[in-house]
């Protein structure tokens, strides 16, 4: 069987923003209007990646990395300066409306619902605007009402909804036309833990049961860790990393942490093993705890534990995997050190 064509193909994508140069001095504002000098900024600088149908990828990067610009090109909002993009066989900015029928878009910071109308009105309207066949639309509304728990507030005007409720409404609106690709930009921003969990569960269900391809942009790495198998990390308009979450950790934070709780009165004598070193004590560490860092490639967990137990009386042991948060933090920090 031939491999199916990726649903999203991005090649050599670049986007340059040009703004007239601000002229200082007398009549600066008016002269700025007529200037032929421009300041240009390369927001996206040669990005390539592909996404297969049914993938759920995290598209990450610090502020100003070019994330939003890429998403805006993929969704048909912006035209790139260079490069080629195909989304479900469509060049988004050339066939904008056709592309719109293939995708769902949720921007966490803004709503696409009608502010002054009850949520139900917005959902009905979306169905008609997207030309969804009536019975199918009704069934979809019913299904999403149940999945997202919309029943309690579906007849409330959107302006009176809480952020979490509005977000659920927005997700339902985006998914009603059964898009092949769902773009989520900060879908959990500002939400409490329970609301976040609910939204994550919904996204996971869509991806698993409907096979919807999901592109998730977020600063909440918990979202990514819980949902995404693959991440694309960009910075300075370029792809920094593209692969699985595990490999990213292995590359940027290969070491695990072994936390040892010594028995009362026991003294720490150290462990002499190649590839194992003591971590600097953490501020909120309990007295009598010691943390070791080791790379499982060179020192097996079992051996490190055995070495500790051989020399010490221990009440508790735990191995902590590196968290994505810390990994990404280190990548960003390293980048800033270079810049």
């Amino acid at each position: 069987m031939p491999t199916p064509k990726p649903i999203i193909q991005v090649e050599g994508l670049a986007k340059e923003f040009r703004r007239p140069k601000r002229i200082e001095g007398p009549f600066g504002g008016i002269r700025t209007l007529f200037t032929r000098q421009y300041v240009s900024k390369l927001a996206v600088d040669g990005i390539d990646f592909t996404v297969d149908e049914g993938e759920l990828i995290g598209y990450l990067g610090p502020n100003g990395a070019g994330k939003s610009t890429t998403i805006k090109i993929l969704t048909g909002i912006l035209q790139p300066t260079q490069g080629s993009v195909e989304v479900a066989g469509v060049v988004p900015w050339k066939e904008r409306e056709r592309n719109a029928r293939n995708i769902g878009v949720v921007f966490g910071q803004r709503t696409q619902l009608w502010w002054d109308l009850p949520l139900r009105d917005s959902l009905e309207l979306i169905g008609k605007l997207y030309g969804v066949e009536r019975d199918r639309h009704r069934a979809n509304i019913e299904r999403f009402t149940e999945l997202l728990g919309l029943a309690a507030f579906i007849d409330t005007p959107v302006r009176q909804l809480s952020l979490g409720q509005r977000m659920r409404g927005d997700l339902a609106a985006a998914m009603l036309p059964e898009p092949r690709i769902l773009y989520l930009d900060e879908p959990t921003i500002g939400l409490d833990v329970v609301a976040k969990e609910r939204i994550r569960a919904f996204i996971a269900t869509l991806n698993k049961d409907e096979g919807t391809t999901v592109i998730l942009t977020t600063h909440d790495l918990d979202d990514v860790e819980k949902l995404c198998r693959r991440i694309v990390l960009i910075d300075g308009g370029k792809v920094l990393y593209d692969g699985s979450v595990e490999k990213l950790k292995a590359r940027y934070a290969p070491r695990r942490r072994l936390v040892v709780q010594l028995a009362e009165g026991a003294r720490w004598r150290g462990v002499a093993m190649p590839g194992v070193e003591e971590a600097p004590p953490e501020e909120d560490a309990e007295p009598g705890t010691v943390a070791l860092l080791f790379d499982p490639e060179t020192a097996a967990s079992a051996e490190v534990i055995a070495a500790v137990l051989a020399d010490h009386q221990v009440t508790d042991l735990s191995i902590v995997e590196p968290e994505l948060e810390g990994v990404v933090h280190r990548i960003y920090a390293a980048r800033e050190a270079v810049a």
Binding site: T75, R101, R110, L117, D121, K128, V132
Partner: protein, 276 residues
């Protein structure tokens, strides 16, 4: 969906427009007292303008040889055209706002034309006040003057109103289109509105010739009401232009609106979205 299809299907543009407009109207009706106030405001605004002219005419008897009835007819023609244009397009005035807040992004991710989505984002009922006042003034003026009421003349009148609406509209559409590059150009649009308001309803012959030329060929205010009014009031003889130009005035509208739409199409390519 994984099978490569979605539930979405193309729908006719007219239906999309009706759907969006209906939603905007339902939203507007949630604020009933505000709706009534803006409607009253629209009527009062244009009424004050006419009151000012009638005081002038009352004081001097006539302006440039035009009687009160004739001026009312001209003024009414201008306000009717203005109201007719404003009803479907009031939202052009907030294009720059929708760009700055990111609302315009949403128009581009929906399966419908962005201009149509902008125009149907809200219904601004004050514009109905404009139209009602305009028609009232027009009818009142018409009853005072010797107006040709043959079917041909009435048809010309109707075409003149539509043409005038399109002339004003083309200027506003072209000016609004610059928002894609300038972000804020409210002053330009208020300037155009000001010119229309301050000059559109008077017989242009009372102004110096330089002003007349500007108001005919640079900001084509003359085509909105003055030239057609000359035709309908049998005054083409006093124009500096050939009478056939005045007769063809209603054609300027469709021509200019086509050009303005072209400006929109080229300017929207410069859309850069907002920061985030």
């Amino acid at each position: 969906m994984a099978d490569g299809t979605t539930a979405a299907n193309p729908i006719p543009r007219r239906r999309a427009y009706r759907l969006l407009l209906g939603a905007a109207l339902r939203a507007q009706l949630q604020y009933r007292s505000n709706t009534l106030l803006t409607l009253a405001g629209g009527i009062a605004y244009q009424g004050v303008g006419l009151a000012f002219v009638s005081v002038l005419v009352g004081r001097f008897g006539a302006i440039g040889g035009w009687s009160l009835g004739e001026i009312a007819f001209l003024y009414g023609l201008r306000v009717t055209a203005h109201g007719l244009w404003m009803i479907p397009t009031s939202q052009l005035f907030v294009l720059d706002l929708t760009i700055r807040t990111g609302e315009f992004d949403r128009y581009l991710t929906r399966p419908a034309g962005p201009l149509m989505q902008l125009l149907s984002r809200e219904v601004y009922l004050a514009t109905i006040g404009d139209l009602l006042t305009g028609v009232a003034i027009l009818v009142a003026g018409a009853s005072q003057v010797d107006l040709d009421t043959s079917p041909g003349a009435l048809l010309y009148l109707a075409l003149a109103v539509v043409g005038g609406a399109l002339v004003e509209g083309s200027l506003q559409l072209a000016a609004a289109s610059l928002s894609f590059r300038m972000l804020s150009n409210q002053s330009l649009r208020l300037f155009i509105d000001g010119i229309m308001n301050n000059f559109g309803g008077y017989p242009l012959k009372i102004f110096p010739s330089v002003t007349r030329i500007v108001l005919t060929f640079v900001v084509p205010v003359a085509f909105v009401a003055y030239l057609p009014a000359n035709v309908l009031l049998h005054r083409t003889g006093e124009l500096a232009l050939a009478p056939w130009v005045a007769w063809c005035a209603p054609l300027a509208g469709p021509l200019l609106i086509a050009l303005a739409y072209l400006v929109w199409r080229t300017q929207i390519r410069h859309y850069q979205s907002s920061g985030t």
